[in-house]
Structure formats: C-alpha cells, structure tokens
C-alpha cells in the first residue's frame, strides 16, 4: 500500500510540472466536460462514472445536487424532505433582468426547486440527514428557501438524533433577497445551535466554491469540516480582496489546501475517498457501534449516537471501576 501511495505522489508531481496550475484556463470557451487544467475531454457518462474527477490530473469538476446524493448516499436510501419550497420575490427585485426570470431559468436548467436539496439517507450504512447544494442554481446562492430547507433538515436531524451532513457549493447569500438572504445566515446558525444543544453531530463538506454568507454561517460550524481538493473557501472573493488591499494574492489564496495549512478545516478529502471518509466519521459519531439497518433505509435501532453513548456510559459505570476506566485492562 505504501508503495502505491509513493508512486501516486510522484505521478502528481510530474503532472504539475507539465501543466502549471497558475496558467489561467480559458474557462469561458471550454466545454463543461473538458478539464480546465489538462484539457482532457470526457463523455458525459464517462465523467459521471469517475465521479467527475479528471483521471489524468485529478481536477475535480463541479457536481450537481442530485448527482452528489447519488455519489454519497447508499443506493435507494435517499428520502427527500421539503420538496415543495420555491423562492418568492419579496423585494420585487430587478437588476438587468427580473429575479423571477432568473429563478425560472435556473429551475429549467437544473430541474431543481432551489439551490439546496435535503433528505434522510444512509451513507455506508449509517443513517443521516443529507443536504447538498447545486452551484448551477443561481451560483448556489442562499435565499429564504435555502435557509428554510437547511433549517428543516437540521431540525429533523436534531429531533431524530441522527447526524447532519451538508455538502455546500455557493457564492454566498442571494443578493436578490437582500436583507432576508442575510438573515438566513442567522437562521441557519440558530439551526446549528439547536443541533449542538441536542448533541447531534454535524459534518460539513465544502466543495468548490464555498464562499460569502454560506461559509460564514452554517458551513463553518460543522463538528467536522472537510473540503474537496482545490475548493475556494474564502469569505471575500479573491477579486474583492485584491481590489481592497492592492496586494498580490498568493496563488493558493483561499483554497482548501491553504485553509488546511491555516487550521481552518480538518482535512482535504479527494472525491473518490469522500463517501468512505463520511462513513468513517459517522461510525465514530455513533460511538463505533454499527447500527443495523432495515432494508427501507430506516434505522432499526433509533437513534444512534446519544443512546449508544449513554448506554456505554451506564454499562461502564455499573461494571467498571471508574479509576481504571479507559486505562489498560
């Protein structure tokens, strides 16, 4: 195993030397299935099959909300929540085009009601509530609907005592809902507060890009925060920072790897490993006890986590000597 990893590392270095990442890719002209880093092109079914990760250079292509669920949830386990929610236009907002027009266009383009979907699911056999974002729906921006769906998902997790997993990809709050969009930051933070008070774990997965009001609210508050490689994770966008400070930004400004170095996230996880990593964290959260699942995807012994921990505590305090507890047997 160790030797495989070594060879892998060497290959990555070689790739980097051949295709320097600093070179700005002509993104606008590229086909969405063409790798912006190494220009490898994929058929849609090919790219889907490799989880939208370039097999040549490891570039992570964006993943839509529904496909993300397919990648992470066990087959057939996803039961959607809060499906009937759509954005209203409380400000009657029009910029170059009316907000309602942008909304309809996004609905048609993505087939989604808004930028976030949620549901109960199992990941590697472990029950959870899963929320995934879609960057193609108005830049994954958070308005009233995204805030409400996240809050409902989080409430279900708190109520049933099952962990919450969110996968974010968002430019931030939705300007077209102005102050109401800003308030979704407070609303989702309140939802996380209830989760924390209930002792329910929250795992936040940051995909490219997670910026602005989303990274500065619920996405930053995971008990575990992991990111995909290369994801932009800044509060302010690189252009805003450059214009304000007139500094030359480091090449890896705000990227997952830089955030990891600065202690802002727990791990950078490649997409190939993401499901296994989530399964691992969920098992750890359940106290190492695998909860047997019914075929319908519902936990047979609800809820894990708290109950398992309390039971173990009771057992250890009944039978064990508190002074030797946790020490060598």
């Amino acid at each position: 195993v160790a030797r495989d990893e070594e060879t892998e590392d060497i290959q990555v270095e070689v790739e980097r030397e051949e295709t320097p990442r600093e070179q700005p890719p002509a993104r606008a002209k590229l086909h969405p299935n063409t790798c912006p880093v190494c220009k490898s092109h994929y058929r849609e079914d090919e790219l889907r099959a490799v989880l939208r990760v370039c097999t040549v250079c490891g570039h992570h292509f964006p993943v839509g909300a529904e496909e993300r669920v397919e990648q992470l949830a066990d087959a057939g386990s996803f039961r959607p929540l809060a499906e009937g929610l759509r954005s209203a236009d409380p400000l009657a907002f029009t910029d170059l085009r009316p907000y309602t027009e942008r909304l309809s266009e996004a609905e048609v383009a993505t087939g989604l009601g808004d930028a976030l979907i949620a549901g109960t699911a199992t990941i590697a056999g472990m029950p959870c509530v899963l929320c995934t974002m879609d960057f193609t729906f108005m830049g994954g921006s958070m308005g009233s609907v995204v805030g409400e769906i996240f809050t409902r998902a989080s409430d279900v997790a708190a109520e049933r005592g099952i962990p919450l997993v969110s996968v974010t990809s968002s430019g931030g709050a939705r300007m077209q809902e102005n102050i109401l969009a800003l308030m979704q930051m407070a609303k989702t933070v309140c939802a996380v507060d209830l989760l924390q008070e209930s002792g329910v774990p929250y795992i936040s997965v940051l995909a490219h890009p997670t910026t602005g009001g989303v990274i500065a609210s619920f996405a930053a508050l995971g008990d575990f925060v992991v990111s995909e490689p290369g994801a932009l994770l800044s509060f302010a966008g690189p252009r805003v920072v450059q214009e304000t400070t007139r500094e030359t930004l480091p090449a890896d400004f705000g990227r997952a790897e830089s955030s990891f170095e600065h202690g802002l996230i727990d791990a950078v996880v490649k997409r190939d490993d993401l499901k296994a990593k989530l399964g691992q964290i969920l098992r750890l959260c359940a106290g190492g006890t695998l909860v047997p699942m019914e075929p319908n995807g519902e936990a047979a012994v609800p809820p894990p986590g708290i109950v398992a921990r309390v039971l173990r505590f009771l057992r250890s305090s009944q039978h064990g000597d508190p002074h030797t507890n946790g020490g060598p047997a």
Partner: protein
C-alpha cells in the same frame, strides 16, 4: 387619476416616481455613511455612566475596529460591543474603517462570554461596511469568526439588543446582530452587500450603485416591513449627526424599552425564543402558497412618524 392621462405620460409618471424612490433611498445610504454621524463610542459616552472600555481578544490582538466595554445604563450594568469607524484620516486607518478582522470577532465573543457570566445584558452597535477582506483575515478564519460570533450570541442567557446605528454591511455586521431585539435607526441601512458591490456584480458597473440601492432597499422602514427589525428608532430631523445628544437619548429610550420587554420573558426560554425569532425569517412559496410575509399589526411605537 393615472387612467385619465394619455398613455405616454403614464410611463413618464412611473419613471419619475421611480427616480424619486431612487433618490430617497440613496439619501438614506449617504446619511448612514455621513462623516459626522455618531459612532459606537459617541453613543456609549452618552448612554452609560462609569464606562470602562475592554480591550483585546486575550490571544495577542486588540482589533480597534470593534470596541467593547461595560457601563451602567439606567440602573443596570450592561456590556456594549460595537463596530467603530474613525472620523479623520488617522483615526480611520487606526479603526480600519470599522472593518473587523477575525480577532475583532474573537474580542466580541470574549466580551459576550464575560457579560453572560456576570449577568450583564448585551447591547451591540452595528456600523460597518463589512468584515475586512484581506489575505491575513482570510487565513485567520474570517468566515468561521463571523459564524462563531453569531453562534455565541444565539446561546447567551442574558438579554441582548442589537442596534443598527449606521451602515449594516453584510456578514460582518450580522456577526454581532443575532439578538433578542433588533433596533435600527431611522436613517441607518442594513444590507447583504454594499450598493457598490451589488452594482458591480449584477449590473457589472459600479456607477449603477443608486439603482442597486433602489432595487434592494436597505432602509430601516423596509427592513421593518420584512420583519428583520423590531423597532425603527427615530432620529433628530436631518439625521443623528444634527443633534447627537438627542439621538443618543432616543436610542437609549428604545434600548430601555427593549430590555424591559426581554427581561419580562422567562430566562429559561430565552435561547429558544431567540432561535424561534430568526427561525421565522424569510419569505418563500410552499406548494404555491406564500409563506413568511409579515402581516404587521403596525405597532405605532415601532415606527417613527412620517
């Protein structure tokens, strides 16, 4: 009346009305940013006795864009945490234009915790263009600092009142705004992004800032209509800077009323009530039905007279 006008004039009238609304809203933006508008320390001076300013995050930094302290306010000790802008060039640089670094929000959290331990109600003063967008700020966890500051506010046991006194700019403002009651001065603004930022992104032209402001309506009255703000605090005519003492008295009265009403609520429910308040925010369609639009009882005390 409109129907009697020939068709071309109807369009003209609409355009004139739009232009008028645009300039009204822009006037609010300019007043909120006025050079001589009172800042947090101006209010702290006038609102409390025995003021002691508290400094530093206890981890190596004192961010001057956030000021904090304790003082005696009408019979109780309160803690004040607020953004602080500077008045002249030198002070503006010292205060970093009221744009806090992550350490500033850590300072705020430290003072929140102190107030909670000692039972001092927390009053925050919001007046910032936004959190500082710098390389070091990002590397120091600006996003997480804002999120954690909000989270810290949601769980305080003491009563909390946030006052938007000038510019309520984005997450950097809301970081100290998750409170039991939200007050907003009549000529303050509160928005998810600056009009300039919005114009740059949506119009791709910063010169469309007036249009952007008119489209997203950052005014106190509109924030109240949307249920984001509980009370709009009147200002002396022409704006708070025309008579700072009177502005402070009016704000003090509103803070007093807010604290009294929060203190009347059961303390063990405070955290749940605060969560429920923000839980309600938003307007959306659910199975085609509009949800969340506030049917205001139009509390005459909550809005200043026109």
């Amino acid at each position: 009346m409109n129907s009697r006008l020939p068709t071309p004039f109807r369009g003209l009238r609409r355009r004139l009305a739009e232009r008028a609304a645009e300039s009204d809203i822009w006037e609010a933006v300019e007043l909120a940013r006025h050079d001589s508008r009172p800042y947090t320390l101006d209010y702290a001076d006038r609102l409390v006795d025995d003021w002691i300013e508290l400094h530093g995050d206890r981890a190596g930094t004192d961010d001057h864009a956030i000021v904090s302290g304790v003082g005696s306010f009408r019979g109780r000790t309160i803690a004040i945490v607020g953004h602080q802008k500077g008045r002249d060039l030198k002070e503006r640089a010292f205060r970093n234009f009221g744009m806090a670094q992550p350490q500033g929000y850590a300072k705020a959290r430290r003072v929140f915790a102190l107030a909670d331990r000692l039972g001092f109600p927390v009053v925050t003063m919001i007046d910032t263009p936004g959190a500082y967008p710098g390389v070091e700020a990002e590397q120091g966890g600006q996003a997480a600092a804002i999120a954690q500051s909000m989270l810290a506010m949601t769980r305080l046991r003491v009563p909390t009142v946030a006052c938007v006194i000038g510019e309520g700019g984005s997450g950097g403002a809301l970081a100290i705004g998750v409170s039991d009651r939200v007050l907003m001065l009549e000529h303050a603004i509160y928005s998810v992004i600056s009009p300039e930022g919005c114009a740059t992104i949506l119009w791709r032209d910063v010169n469309q800032r007036r249009k952007a402001a008119a489209a997203f309506k950052p005014t106190a009255r509109f924030s109240y209509e949307l249920g984001v703000v509980d009370t709009v605090v009147p200002e002396p005519s022409g704006g708070a800077h025309r008579d700072v003492d009177r502005a402070a008295r009016l704000l003090g009265d509103a803070i007093g009323v807010a604290l009294d009403s929060i203190e009347a609520e059961p303390v063990e429910q405070r955290r749940a009530l605060r969560r429920a308040k923000f839980r309600r925010m938003g307007v959306w369609l659910e199975d085609g039905v509009l949800v969340g639009e506030k049917e205001h009882e139009h509390d005459p005390a909550a809005l200043p007279a026109e």
